[in-house]
Amino acid sequence: MTILIVMLVLSLYRQLVIEQQNQVDKHLAAEMQRYQQLALTVNRRSFAAQIRAADPKTALIAWRNSVDMVGALTFLPENMPQLPETKDFPIFTGGPDKLHILTGGLVITRYGPVLIATRTDHLATLIEKFINAAFWAVAFTLGLTLALGYIFSKAILRRLVEYNRLSEQIEAGHYETRLPVSDSQDEFDMLARQFNLVLDTLEQNLRAVRGVTDNIAHDLRTPLSHLRIGIEQLADKPTNELADASAELLEELDHCLGTFDAMLSLTRIEEGQQTLDLQPVSLQQICQDLFEMAEVIAESRDQVLDISLENDVQINGDKYLLFQALFNLVDNAIKYSPVGASICIKQRGKHIQISDNGPGIIDEDKERVFDRLVRLDPSRHYKGTGLGLSMVKAILSRHKATISLHDNNPGLLVNIHFK
């Protein structure tokens, strides 16, 4: 803006001042011609008379002949150029404004050099006034711009300062704090809204982590306190019982470590930190392997395990992880179904179904079972980490497969669909 003003003023200056200067130059040129003509046409005396009679308001004329000076000046200023070149020079007069500025040059006539000049005080004054005005104009706009900018940035800054203050509050642990969003829908509101969304997600995760931490503490507290008691009693055990007692403690400890391991690998799979070892996997082959491994476990509980395969499909996946996930589901079906139940592994193209006729899962719990450390059996009668299904879901979603639980009336039906 200031630059614009400066440019405007400059162009005005050019138009006004340069125009004035052009007029001075033209005027001088006309006078020069007049005196050149005069020198050629009149005799020396008439020439002198003409010079003496010249009206100082139109032009100031001074002629130096061989004897003295004729005209308005008593001397010729030194180093005056020949017209049309001009030079400014001061003269003193007796009047109230003693110092006059003139612009002029010499004309060489046959009677000698004649100085032709014109007063340019008004021009100088004009320039001075103009520069003065321009200076104030620029200064004014600059001031105005700065003031407006300051007020404007102050308004923005106030919001930033507010954001900053709220962020500090959040940092201090007030995770429920949110940035204010005004109705103006400007960039700041967009920023605030985005920031609030991030905070929402973080707060949710934080709550989940807190829940998990509580669960971990709860889950591991029991085995750890068993261990404590066990180790305390170890010192008093007779030697022949030592081996058995410490083996028992080892089992308990291994269970704790197993939970930690499962937790860590679950996080790595969920967060995508673990790279999958991708290879073509036949769903039919994997179901067949599943059946072979699980059959003997089902048998040991007098359960019937069936398998039905149709339309093999090859998918690109991590064979070990997929097997682990599917095995977990079959193992659960066997574990939670009563003695004598029947369990079925069914594969149809990209669809795998694992069904049992056990107790099933009530609707309210069908989503919840995939959460970490959720165990539907409150007595914790069955051995487990409570991470199995979370792991299953994490592995499957890394393979872009979906899993859903349904009623098998009676029992549970698990549907897995690969894309």
């Binding site: 991590d318 064979k319 097997f323 095995f327 199995g388």
Partner: protein, 227 residues
Amino acid sequence: MTKRILLVEDDATTLKYVADGFTAQNYQVDSATDGQEGLTLAKHNQYDLLILDRMLPKLDGLTLLSALRTSGNKTPVLILSALSHVDERVKGLRAGGDDYMTKPFAFAELLVRAEKLVQRNVIEPAATDIEVGGLKMELLTRKVTLDENELMLQPKEFQLLKYLMEHPNQVISRTLLFEAVWDYHFDPRTNVIDVHIAKLRRKFEELGHGELIETVRGAGYRLCKGH
């Protein structure tokens, strides 16, 4: 002949635990606490086995291993790691490791894996029969007899028994047995091994020798030579 093992491990407790274990088994154990030292030792000595920690100061275990393999050193390597994940396992094996164990581990299992790797370097005539006490296994015909009585075994039971017979009197963990029988490497967290062993043991019991397969609580199973 005494076997030489180089153990590279930065955790002093684990180092002592493993070194003491192998020394007690009449191995000669050299140890290094960082990767650089480990590499220097491995390059200038002839070892029968290297046991490498995955995370090491100065030079990472896998880098050490790659460097060693690039220089043409073919010493069997067993990698120890606190990261119990398949991809780490794959990385380790790709870098030229021969086996992999995750911490924490039972020394008994480490010993079995180590012995397997050490023996791999020794060229033995392929055995066709294995005998442990009164138990006899013909590998070609897959015939198993106990005191001249033939045992009828399922394929998985046969594989399990074979593994146990190859390591008589040693405690074999469920994980090892699992890997011996199935091509899937993961912590099964299941009693599938126990079920198979129970079936196997029942078949022994019918011949009056259920005690041959001993359950070691908190560790695994052991095939007794005593009989």
